[in-house]
């Protein structure tokens, strides 16, 4: 089956499940579909760096958490009518989603630029370790930041607003997240097919050959990392809005690991691999989680099977076409 039809089927399936659940009066299922869309968005960000760029980042929770805290800080100040700072000018918080998203994208991109400039001096296992170290630094920073809840995190009592929509209605909030996911996936498809994406893919395979074509692979990787961090930051802001809660666990290395697991399950470097991976992850979490609290053992076995039997993940298995990775 052509991969584009699998992608269309996955996205249509996600949308239809949410609509069916809404029509059937099952708001919890709509919320689960929203979680799938948000996790897929976060993993889509990582997929650019990992799948196309070959950058195994074990610190992408930094951007997820930073996006979450961007939302938490802005919204908590807005709900308390307390400016974030007053000098040299007054900077108020906001409960407006579009502004929060812009802030999450900006801080995610900025953090990725700083971390990328340092981490991309290394490669292989050292890159994994340095990104993990950044993740842990942010995790402990969030724990020791009492102004924003410290270890207990930060609750936002009312979900942030979007002009013309009732974001407290699960199906409308799903619609927002789903629309963002579609836009980001469209952008990712364009990036992958652009000279930038092709050169990034080529740089993963043979950096010296790319250099012989006049392209600096480090520069490509840094930009890929920045875009990746921005998208994962946006997903973090949406995830915090979904739960109306942000806590240091968003920065934890387990979150970084889960994002990688989603991509491997769905298909590394596949456009809709993150969607398939996130859907499977959430379904297993709900289904197996109801059977046993040790459900992640079964997830581990599944991951083992995917890695050993079909590296293309779910999408690769359905498409029966070798990965471009």
């Amino acid at each position: 089956m052509a991969e584009r039809w699998i992608n269309a089927g996955l996205l249509a399936g996600l949308g239809l499940v949410a609509l069916w659940a809404w029509a059937a009066g099952a708001p919890f299922t709509v919320t689960l579909a929203t979680k799938v869309a948000i996790l897929a968005l976060a993993a889509a960000g990582l997929n650019l760096a990992l799948g196309i760029g070959g950058l195994v980042s074990l610190g992408h929770a930094v951007f997820f958490g930073i996006g979450g805290y961007a939302m938490g800080v802005l919204a908590s100040h807005a709900q308390a009518y307390d400016p974030i700072f007053t000098r040299p000018f007054v900077f108020e918080g906001t409960k407006s989603m579009p502004f929060i998203w812009l802030a999450a994208i900006a801080v995610g991109a900025l953090a990725a630029w700083v971390i990328g400039r340092i981490s991309l001096r290394t490669s292989g296992v050292y890159f994994i370790m340095i990104t993990l170290a950044f993740g842990q630094m942010f995790y402990y920073l969030a724990i020791s930041w009492p102004a924003y809840g410290g270890e207990d995190g930060l609750s936002i009592y009312v979900r942030n607003g979007f002009p013309g929509l009732d974001t407290l209605d699960p199906i409308q909030f799903f619609g927002i997240c789903f629309a963002i996911l579609l836009i980001v996936l469209w952008c990712m498809a364009r990036i992958a097919a652009s000279p930038f994406g092709l050169a990034l893919n080529a740089a993963r395979q043979a950096p010296t050959r790319v250099m012989a074509s006049g392209i600096d692979p480090d520069r490509l990787r840094l930009w890929a990392f920045v875009v990746s961090g921005a998208v994962t930051g946006l997903a973090g802001a949406l995830y915090a809005d979904l739960n109306r809660f942000v806590s240091p666990t968003m920065f934890s290395w387990q979150v970084s690991g889960e994002l990688i697991v989603l991509i491997i399950l769905g298909g590394v470097g596949r456009l809709c691999g993150p969607v398939a991976g996130a859907a499977l992850f959430v379904v297993l979490e709900q289904w197996l989680g109801g059977l046993s609290e040790y459900w992640q053992v079964f997830l581990g076995l599944l991951l083992l099977a995917v890695v050993l039997a079909g590296r293309g993940g779910i999408v690769g298995l359905l498409a029966r076409v070798p990965s471009r990775g």
Binding site: P195, A202, M211
Partner: protein, 228 residues
């Protein structure tokens, strides 16, 4: 004035010194053959010129000191390398391989496909599934997509069937005649080189031992330094 000027080039792989002071020059529009037996330093010279390995000596391209530049900046000056062994990006399609390397200039996808019509037929095929000859055409096309001022071909016809070799040589000749592009070429096909090249440089034990118009490369020299 020379486009590429290499003087007293020295390079080593660890403790093993391969180049002991090689010199050569390529002028605008000139085709220079770099000759020598196996292991005499031809590919090492090319790797050093393209800044893919450290070296010493004088190395200038269009007046720029290449030793001050990383390899991607050297390539941006106009050094287009077709490496030994083709080395295409196997998972990418033909068109993607070409677009990944594209830089603004006279050479674009359509022009490369006119030079190598086979690539147009295989546009959406993955490079890893092409025949050896097609991969070589793709490697040359990829170098042309960078719009080089000097095309460097390292063993471009090695291991190919005679008909395919003829196609590659025809394309190189077309480049020379139609574009006047400067070309530095390493190959063992002396008969073809005599037809296409203006000058030759012979390397032996990491040094240039003879340079001159290729017409002056007589059988005695060929026998002594090239073993033919």
């Amino acid at each position: 004035m020379s486009l590429l000027r290499v003087s007293d080039l020295r390079a080593s792989y660890g403790p093993a010194q391969v180049l002991h002071g090689a010199s050569l020059a390529v002028a605008e529009g000139e085709v220079v053959a770099l000759l020598g037996r196996n292991g005499m330093g031809k590919t090492t010279s090319i790797r050093a010129i393209c800044r893919m390995m450290p070296s010493h000596g004088a190395l200038t391209f269009d007046g720029h000191d290449l030793h001050r530049l990383p390899s991607h900046r050297a390539a941006r000056l106009g050094l287009g390398l077709v490496p030994e062994g083709r080395r295409c990006f196997a998972p990418l399609t033909v068109a993607e391989n070409l677009r990944a390397a594209a830089r603004r200039g006279a050479w674009d996808l359509a022009r490369v496909e006119r030079l190598f019509p086979r690539l147009a037929e295989r546009r959406e095929q993955r490079a890893g599934t092409l025949s050896g000859g097609e991969q070589q055409m793709l490697a040359i096309g990829r170098a042309l997509m960078t719009n080089p001022r000097l095309l460097i071909l390292d063993e471009a016809t090695e291991g190919l069937a005679p008909l395919v070799r003829a196609e590659i040589w025809a394309a190189i000749e077309a480049l020379r005649v139609e574009t006047g592009m400067a070309i530095l070429i390493v190959d063992k096909s002396l008969a073809e080189l005599r037809r296409i090249a203006d000058r030759a440089v012979i390397l032996s034990r990491g040094r240039d031992v003879w340079q001159g118009p290729i017409a002056g490369l007589d059988d005695t020299l060929a026998g002594r330094y090239l073993g033919v």
